[in-house]
Symmetry: D2
Subunit: 248 residues, 4 copies
């Protein structure tokens, strides 16, 4: 690992522009809130906030090539991210970039490509106020729960319910309870190629969840967990390999 982690916060940025309830909670956008928190944490060298309407959708080779960990929030405009850009993000993860996928990013193109499954789920935003969610830690040995209590309560949340169509997580960190009767695997880790992926469920355009210190701390822990190692050699390419031992 380098001296500090270079983070890029990718934020769709559409709801903040078009939805008064979202703009009221996040006048500068959800991405900025996450970014401001991260840039004050030890071990984080730099934070860059980008969004969908940036040049190259905020996903240029220059940006991706200088990102150790990317956080991703998207919802209503998943389809606008070009297939080429989604493939580029996927490729960078396989090369080592960490990816933190937040809430409705479950149907973002990069996440769905990396999972290989449908990634669909049940959802409910109950009468505009949502319902209570309680995230339980089920792997207290995991670095992502460093300093986190055994449960996190969110008073007003959109519900996401199982079956969540993902590959079984390599490490299951949180499971959510919802007032309306559902459960959800809400903190999930995978290694993919040389990179790491953390899906974290909380966060919604019309709830102040990204102002919650505990939620921000989990995201920060996730960034640290997902930071790439300095691995010798490059990504595997299909290639002929001469023998290391005599044959025949």
């Amino acid at each position: 690992m380098r001296d500090g982690i270079r983070v890029t916060v990718w934020n769709e940025g559409v709801h903040e522009r078009e939805m008064p309830a979202c703009k009221a909670l996040y006048p500068e956008g959800m991405g900025r809130v996450i970014g401001r928190h991260l840039e004050q944490q030890p071990g984080i060298a730099s934070v860059r906030c980008v969004q969908l309407d940036d040049p190259e959708q905020g996903l240029s080779e220059e940006i991706l090539g200088n990102t150790d960990v990317m956080t991703w929030w998207g919802h209503c405009a998943h389809h606008e991210v070009t297939d080429g850009h989604a493939a580029r993000v996927q490729e960078r993860v396989l090369e080592g970039m960490g990816l933190i996928v937040l809430h409705s990013g479950h149907l973002s193109k990069p996440f769905v490509r990396l999972m290989g499954t449908g990634c669909m789920l049940k959802w409910r935003e109950w009468q505009g106020v949502g319902e209570r969610e309680r995230l339980w830690v089920v792997d207290p040995a995991h670095p992502i729960v460093d300093g986190i209590p055994e449960r996190i309560e969110i008073e007003h949340a959109e519900m996401y319910g199982e079956h969540f169509d993902i590959p079984q997580p390599d490490q299951q960190v949180f499971i959510s309870w919802f007032q309306g009767g559902e459960v959800f695997r809400s903190g999930c880790c995978w290694h993919r190629g040389r990179g790491k992926v953390f899906y974290f469920r909380p966060g919604h355009e019309t709830f102040p969840i990204f102002h919650d210190e505990t939620i921000l701390k989990v995201i920060c822990n996730g960034v640290k967990w997902a930071a790439p190692s300095v691995v010798q050699g490059g990504i595997q390419r299909d290639h002929f390999e001469p023998p290391l031992e005599p044959i025949g």
Copy 2:
């Protein structure tokens, strides 16, 4: 599970036509050899052999809709399988169809889509005769090794070496040793959606590996393991769900 498993053996079928060494070993094609073995096994209701130059590339809705488990062998023509057909296979796996991916199928479109990674590896077909491979069982509790000895030896094999760029298998069944100095995760299981995927490394167009009874037995065990359950309800779609419990 139904009374018997309906298997479709998908075989690329190009080497058998164009490569004398392959035609000599498999005059009817590798697919037929696998198919003939499977159709004699108890628990298997029917076997259909299809290939790339069939109508709709052997991957019509009718065929996929009536297949419980598909085996897949491809190599030189992966790119000819259309993206639409590859997506259809992936979708059917998520709905419950088992998929047994053999040898060079590691770079087939359906497998790469289901894995979400590069799936690349090191390879070596040494001087036309290959080298010794020895597959060791590392999960003796797994149904795929039912009746299989603790190691399988193959005298003449193409080498595949790590790093094999796949998601960590849900269940690791075999690991291969190669004479030239490499190892390889050669029997790997994953659940994906309602379906199951088994990657099994042995098998090559110019070696008689698919005539080996033990290899065929592993493939048959894989078919049985991958057979779908009769699950109530359908595949998860992203949808609104009314609450099961009173809220607020």
Copy 3:
């Protein structure tokens, strides 16, 4: 696999004798109810019901040596099972016997030995009537949920809550929601040596849960999943192995 599975249902049998509420629900014991269901299922060759006050605590060499899958229910008398008998059950699992651990068996000696962790949890039997539990299927590809709906509701259940101190399951099948606000990993699978272990949470001495057809079906599916393969050779012993290849 043999022609049919030989099941032994191990039941502690103390509550049924000493607790009127339990005796009223299970006059012949919980074990008999499970046993009667299993013996009527296809694929099950025989069912033997044993309990703690049987000779050798129902865990003689003869019994264990002729059991393919054992189900285990215990609660108030875990400590009475001798260490020698617990070790014998553990050893038989490593040799291939399947073990289905039910409800309060989470602190039984064989289970704790096989897990290597504390296996502790939060619990609550609310005011004698319990509370609502809803088990959600999170791995619809798993044979244990064959024919099971996407959720199972139990109106009156004792609560078990996370953190459940177990090794991460090899396969996570069910997650429970509880009315009082907790979640629990309530259907968990592990391979251990040549054997398989399934922990299934429902079932309690004062609730009629083992009369529920869906619960019994899951137990039966678990028995079938845990049935041993016929593996060639015996369990691994630490031993010298001559080389298979020339050295030096």
Copy 4:
């Protein structure tokens, strides 16, 4: 995580005393060699070296209570470690202490208790000079391989061969190739309770493997990976929990 990791290097210390070949390679003991390397690494606050013939076998409450990560090497005297001390190590791991188990520690009491399986394997120390081992990285995203090449070669090693009777690792990091024809899962990670366990195969009393800089680097990476998080609250104990939500 604290400011620095407090490491205890536990070394059996019998071969170094009784075996000239071992004494010649490790005059101060294998433990000291590992300890000297670790104490020079950034992030490591302190290193204490203990051994079997220390008071309380080097496993006093005081020592364990002030250890973040323990490394363990033992071989001929596993049985001399008391059951009480082994249970204390196991308990400390469940509370959060990291444990790095080296080579023949595979049959040490703490490791076997934590795994719940037999932990046996095939072995061969060929004609006193051993044979070539090559460890391949199979999870290049893992922090334990930070700065490690894609393969590590050891010219003279004792062979350990599969089946290694352990629970499937939560993360499989290295797989070994041996000249004599075997493979082995030689770098394995597990979470257990609040603690982490890393088994790393290399290292032998009559080979200079613990003088190898790459091997020492992996051990140091393992120590960092296994360092405990500061988790709020204590280890789970079986206890009554009042409801968080109204019931009934």
